[in-house]
Chain length 239, copies 2
Amino acid sequence: MTYNPEIYNDQRPNVGVTIVPFIYDEQVIKTLVYKRPIDAEQFANTHALPNCFYDRKKFKTTDEAAKHALLVKTNISIPYMEQLHTFSGDHIDPNRINTINITYFALLRKSDILNISEKNFVSEWMDVDKLLKKDNFAFNHHEVLSLAWNRICSKAEYTPIATQLLDEKFTIVEFKALTELLMNTKLNNSRFRDRVEKSELLIPCSGEFENRKTRPAQLYTVNPHIKDFFYPRSMTKAT
Amino acid sequence: MTYNPEIYNDQRPNVGVTIVPFIYDEQVIKTLVYKRPIDAEQFANTHALPNCFYDRKKFKTTDEAAKHALLVKTNISIPYMEQLHTFSGDHIDPNRINTINITYFALLRKSDILNISEKNFVSEWMDVDKLLKKDNFAFNHHEVLSLAWNRICSKAEYTPIATQLLDEKFTIVEFKALTELLMNTKLNNSRFRDRVEKSELLIPCSGEFENRKTRPAQLYTVNPHIKDFFYPRSMTKAT
DNA sequence: GAAATAGTGTCTTTTAGACAATATCAC
DNA sequence: GTGATATTGTCTAAAAGACACTATTTC
């Protein structure tokens, strides 16, 4: 029963991490993809999401590896990150059939992104809508993007996750428009405001308004005391 | 850029899977744990959840490995299984700091469990309540159990997941009692029945009733046409 | 009939949904 | 004032919640 570190070596999978970063820019959601070199051994000239191998010498946890995969392609802090799913199977990497892919998504603020260009590769923030229609992704990155997109859209319905994509200060109108985009439906105005009020999720930045050429809108910021908030579900409790 | 399979070998983690199986038995939820041998190299004489290494030679996917980890300890089919989370970090296995744990939970029917005893180890279905209070689990299995328990309890509120723990035919009273157990609250009788009716989740087994010494209760079965059902959330859609 | 549990109905309160009305800015 | 958008209010419909009532069995 003594542990021999060599025993399992040839059975150990390649473990990689992939992260799907989202930003809200010009009324659409975008994600960061980079183009693989034309002379790449596999998936040449196709799009891929930020990813790297999980190397225990470099990273204590896969979360750290995922952050690294994103940070070398941006240079920003990550306000919100969540593990998505772990994929396994031969389809992930045809050249390395023993591969596991631990996936994450992240929500970033456009204003936090200072410089997304790097010398080593060409990366680009592209419309999620358009990317989902493409089928020539590297690895299993289409299913990863698709799952990430479904997750964030679902969560927009019962959590205030969309606020993570907005600037620090934002108006209710902006919050509503983004939620509508994610939910792919129009929402009732009064109800949306009532919900925000009752939940105490947002606190008004007193005296601060956004000025366009119309009536100024109150600016709000996320209430830091409220963590892991879920909007009330309609469930039937008894006294 | 040519791939050399040896390059990453000493960086590759041990990948293990853990599965938390639940049954509903005698009005409580139980999970299967086995006791590690007294002479085990590590975590001797402590409880552990069903687990095994992920060996690509044996399993094409980690899902298959998770099923295997459970099946060698039971000998049943697995009606419902879901991936939970992938853990990494030094705390999982002190003897193998480069370890990753891909975790699952499963929902079983007590009636499907024919023979849970095996010769190679002692396993036992124990109250989840009691297990959660113990702190001497092997590996990170306490956090795995805790996460699994939270997940199933949350899902009982907005999905009919609890039906997976009941026999094929069950009464609404049984379904309600189990949901109350998971949600840790009493539920409104009429509302619960209305919800079941409207959702068309259950179909009555016509003419079949459960007979106790009181008024017989209608038996229902899960509508096979309804997949991935979520109870309606209160969200504010506009026309 | 009594006891026990299954299932239904009724009333009140709360929330959702539609949409009108008012408010505040630039010009 | 007009135009544009923000914000509030009002009315109606639907759902939740509390709880009483009726139904069907065994004894």
